[in-house]
């Protein structure tokens, strides 16, 4: 084995610093060879090692009695009762999607699904929070259209419904879109498997697609550095992988069959850092070592170098750890599903990861498996708030030209054009799908398919505007928004996963944003009793050295304990009374961080509206109860765009107008004070409802009635439902698709 010192330029070109090189030198007691260096470079990349964020992530609450698997495994797993567990995970595929939108998004979906079936769960739902540059930017439109097509093309074909998500357009994402994907799966508790290699002599079987030169070093080249003008183009494209949903579908079915028959002792998906990551992670988690024969890897082309085989990020591959006696059956099932299977490794007892050319051949690399993980660097990077923070927070975000009716038409947006491209109904669980506050899925027993009478509520939420103004309170409000969204479908929060999309961690302001966001998330998750069971950190989201606005995205899952009828939803009928429930902002409420301030007023700073977390907890609990009891006719969370947009969404959705009084002027209509929900109920129920909210300490205020064919908001806005509907419905198809939709 070559142990010659490497030319210093080699480790730097792989993304390792001189200090990191010295650490590797110390761990091995000798200079690493090129292959070893390549393996450390991918495993110690920001993407795989969380080296900049780990120190902050430790502050998140991660425990609860129902948490079976917390952060650090392929997916978080919670116990939802009746012997059923739920696996959930969210990930980003931001940089690949910026370069090749369709494949970037497609492989993002593929990767997250493998994380779920790795745990032994059948994936039953995907959500896709998407963020793009402005609609008037042709490149951003190209990225948006490609990403949506990629999610549709891959997700529909692989056969997992996309039940919700978000779509946001903002200047901050020009050149650096955010493509986050959440996946959820169900499994019998006893089938839970972990990505562990144990049992000396057991075999590591590589399943699925052949290994090619696609995605070499994707995690270190793409995910762990920002973009500049030049690199927008071709030179990073070979690092983007190409997805094959049909291969993934067969791989998924084959793996679930292997798990059903109890043929694997551990299983691991191949994602970032490819075979290096899968072999070293399974070995080090299992306290074992592994011999890996690179010559046994089924490859896509001749003459691939060992470092290419070991770091390739070719998609649709899994590594199964099987006892030798089970191998024949494993190969039989693989063959039935027409997927390739090769024995590429043997579990050893010495903790060493040895890369060999033939099991008895030359040793190409040898290192302690655990050093790729446990000894990865951990940085306490400098952090500091922006120098002009006080000045920024003193700005008044309510100034600007005001034409409330025109502003409302500009702010309403119906995402149906996007989600109608996604199969959101497969598996017959989708009681509430995309386009609503939260999704609600029937929970069926994965062993029998029988209904449990319960349902899972899910939502993904992020808000870069709030988090730009105040990353701490903004993130707490994002968590509250997610909780309120599932409250609107009757679900009580059980767990949260997060995708922390931030700029360059070498900028102290970005590290401050990250740290503040983690604290805000911790406070809110503790208040809602929703532990963080997994997450992903995406850094270096920057273009030409300008960082994106901080965008922590949360995915939440909760339980509706007894579902006999669909929840009320946001459909109105005439002659109902509308009540605003939750925190009631005063007339001087700040507009900072609102869509109005950013997109119309042109001010991105100021101080966020006051936010009472504990009031919001009470409101969310109360809303959950009234939805579970089907006590109201309609319910809708007040989110982006404030009260006026939420009311307009209900009116457009139902084709029913309304008269609202007491809210005049843009400040009252468009502020984004948190923790508010609109409830519609029959007049006869009003008195008892207000008595009940008062007894429960939940503020509530009657704001108007439904009826007619116009949206009348005090003396400020009077718009026909037809005009509103056209504005909401046509914006996305006109910008991204084929013009006005039919009908």
């Amino acid at each position: 084995m070559s142990v010659a010192p490497e030319d210093a330029s080699v480790h730097r070109s792989l993304g390792l610093t001189d200090e990191e090189y010295e650490t590797i030198h110390g761990l091995l007691g000798r200079h690493p060879n090129h292959l070893e260096l390549a393996m450390y470079s991918v495993m110690w990349s920001e993407h795989c090692s969380y080296k900049s964020s780990k120190i902050h992530l430790k502050r998140l609450p991660t425990e609860a009695p129902w948490v079976l698997v917390g952060p650090g495994e392929n997916a978080g797993v919670i116990d939802v009762g009746d012997g059923i567990a739920v696996a959930i995970r969210i990930e980003s595929h931001n940089h690949p999607s910026a370069i090749e939108p369709y494949q970037g998004a497609a492989t993002g979906v593929g990767g997250i699904l493998r994380d779920i079936f790795t745990m032994g769960a059948r994936p039953i739902a995907v959500m896709d929070p998407l963020r793009f540059g402005p609609l008037d930017d042709p490149r951003s439109r190209w990225i948006a259209e490609g990403v949506i097509s990629g999610v549709s093309g891959y997700g529909n074909s692989v056969g997992v419904p996309t039940v919700g998500g978000e779509i946001v357009f903002d200047e901050t994402y020009r050149g650096n879109p955010l493509v986050n994907v959440l996946a959820m799966g169900v499994l019998p508790v006893e089938r839970l498997v972990l990505g562990r290699a144990s049992g000396v002599g057991n075999l590591a079987v590589l399943l699925g697609a052949s290994t090619g030169r696609d995605g070499i070093g994707g995690v270190s080249v793409l995910a762990s550095a920002g973009f500049d003008e030049a690199s927008q183009n071709a030179d990073k494209r070979p690092s983007v992988q190409v997805g094959d949903p049909f291969e993934e579908k067969r791989l998924l079915e084959a793996c679930l069959e292997l798990l059903d028959e109890g043929l694997v002792t551990g299983i691991q998906d191949l994602g970032g850092a490819g075979i290096t990551c899968a072999t070293s992670e399974t070995a080090s988690r299992g306290g074992a070592g592994m011999d890996v024969d690179v010559s046994a890897i089924h490859s896509r082309e001749e003459g691939m170098e060992p470092f290419e085989l070991m770091t390739s990020e070719s998609q649709e591959r899994m590594l199964a750890i099987v006892e030798p006696g089970s191998l024949d059956r494993v190969l039989e099932i693989s063959s039935r599903w027409e997927i390739s299977a090769s024995v590429i490794g043997r579990v050893t007892g010495d903790g060493q990861l040895r890369i060999l050319d033939g099991f008895d051949g030359e040793v190409l690399a040898e290192l302690p498996a655990s050093t790729l993980h446990d000894d990865a660097p951990e940085y306490e990077r400098p952090l500091s708030p922006p120098e002009n923070l006080i000045e920024r927070r003193s700005l008044d975000a309510s100034s600007g030209p005001v034409d409330c009716a025109a502003d409302l038409l500009a702010l309403v947006r119906d995402p149906a054009w996007v989600y109608s491209q996604y199969d959101h109904q497969l598996f017959l669980n989708t009681v509430v799908g995309p386009g609503s506050d939260g999704a609600l899925l029937r929970l069926r027993d994965p062993r029998t398919g029988h209904e449990t009478g319960r349902a899972l509520g899910m939502s993904t939420d992020g808000n870069h505007r709030w988090c730009h103004v105040d990353p701490r309170q903004g993130t707490a409000m994002v968590v509250a928004e997610a909780v309120m969204n599932i409250a609107c479908v009757g679900a009580e929060p059980m767990a949260v996963v997060n995708c922390l999309n931030f700029g360059n961690p070498e900028h102290p302001e970005v590290m401050w944003q990250l740290s503040e966001a983690v604290d805000g998330m911790s406070e809110a998750c503790r208040a809602f009793n929703a532990p963080v069971v997994g997450g992903n950190v995406s850094l270096y989201n920057e273009t030409n050295a300008v960082d994106i606005a901080p965008t922590p995205v949360v995915g939440i899952i909760g339980m509706h304990p007894k579902l006999s009828n669909p929840p009320p939803g946001m459909t109105l009928s005439p002659d109902l009374t509308l009540v605003l429930v939750g925190q009631q902002p005063n007339e001087n409420v700040s507009m900072a961080g609102s869509r109005w301030a950013w997109e119309i007023g042109g001010c991105k700073d100021g101080s966020l509206p006051e936010f009472d977390l504990f009031q919001t907890v009470r409101t969310a609990e109360y809303v959950t109860e009234i939805v579970q009891r089907n006590q109201v006719e309609a319910v809708h969370d007040v989110g982006d765009g404030g009260l006026a947009v939420a009311l307009a969404e209900m009116a457009v959705h139902s084709g029913v107008g309304m008269h609202i009084s007491g809210f005049d002027g843009h400040r009252a209509l468009f502020n984004e004070s948190g923790g508010r929900v609109i409830v519609a109920l029959s007049r006869t129920d009003l008195e008892s409802f207000l008595r009940e909210t008062s007894n429960r300490g939940v503020p509530a205020q009657t704001i108007g009635n439904t009826g007619g064919s116009s949206l009348v908001l005090g003396s400020t806005i009077n718009l026909s439902i037809d005009d509103l509907t056209r504005a909401a419905r046509d914006e996305l198809p006109q910008a991204l698709g084929q013009g006005t939709v039919s009908g």
Partner: protein, 225 residues
């Protein structure tokens, strides 16, 4: 009564268990038929469910028609056995020559998943039992290639022979004649793009698909000829 229903599973099929659940809920006994088997066993009806058989690579249904089970489906259909192709199953039936015409990309060039209203245009087939021409149903569609196309003479023939089973009331995909489903001449083979199994509970927004599956179960298996 056709109680035993075989539901074909190709690699890439994804609606097989939804279809089985929906049929079993109605008192049928549905089981998976693997595409590589050539004997469907003792079944009273066959469903080719939705999904992406063989990844829809080459062309939807183009590879699936060569799976060994398809010979058995042809024989079964020729003998009068009830066969229902849903979505991808409809595409497979056209590729296999059991139904005329073809399904091309939606006019809007986008995948579409949403509730659609369809209308019975003929009930002389295995899904029409108990229904009347003109009945309106809310059943979701979920396809990229659902734009039915056929030669003019074929369309005339379909109309003359009362073989257009469903028409969309608001054509979502550009199908000729607003066609959402057709049958063979005898009425025992039906292909439709909407997914009846997705409209089997008010929790899912509609149960208008139930009667179609019920009809399939109630249709007697025709005697062998």
């Amino acid at each position: 009564m056709s109680r035993h229903v075989g539901v074909i599973r190709f690699p890439g099929t994804n609606c097989e268990f939804d279809t089985i659940d929906a049929i079993n809920e109605l008192g049928g006994e549905a089981k998976v038929l693997w595409h590589g088997d050539s004997d469907p066993g003792d079944v009273d009806a066959i469903v080719i469910p939705g999904g992406f058989a063989h990844g829809d690579y080459l062309r939807c249904g183009a590879i699936a028609r060569f799976s060994p089970i398809m010979d058995a489906v042809s024989t079964f259909a020729r003998n009068g056995g009830p066969v229902l192709g849903i979505c991808n199953g409809f595409q497979v039936l056209t590729e296999a020559g059991l139904l005329p015409g073809a399904l091309q990309k939606n006019a809007g060039l986008k995948f579409l998943c949403r509730m659609e209203q369809i209308q019975f245009a003929s009930t002389a087939n295995v899904v029409g039992l108990g229904a009347s021409v003109g009945d309106l149903l809310n059943i979701p569609i979920n396809h990229f290639e659902g734009n039915y196309v056929c030669a003019k003479e074929t369309l005339k023939q379909l109309e003359a022979e009362n073989r257009i089973v469903f028409r969309y009331t608001d054509n979502p995909n550009g199908s000729i004649g607003d066609i959402a489903g057709i049958s063979n001449k005898r009425g025992n083979v039906v292909g439709m793009m909407p997914h009846p199994e997705r409209a089997t509970s008010m929790l899912l927004g509609s149960n208008d698909g139930t009667s179609l599956l019920q009809s399939l179960l109630s249709t007697g298996r025709a005697p062998s000829t």
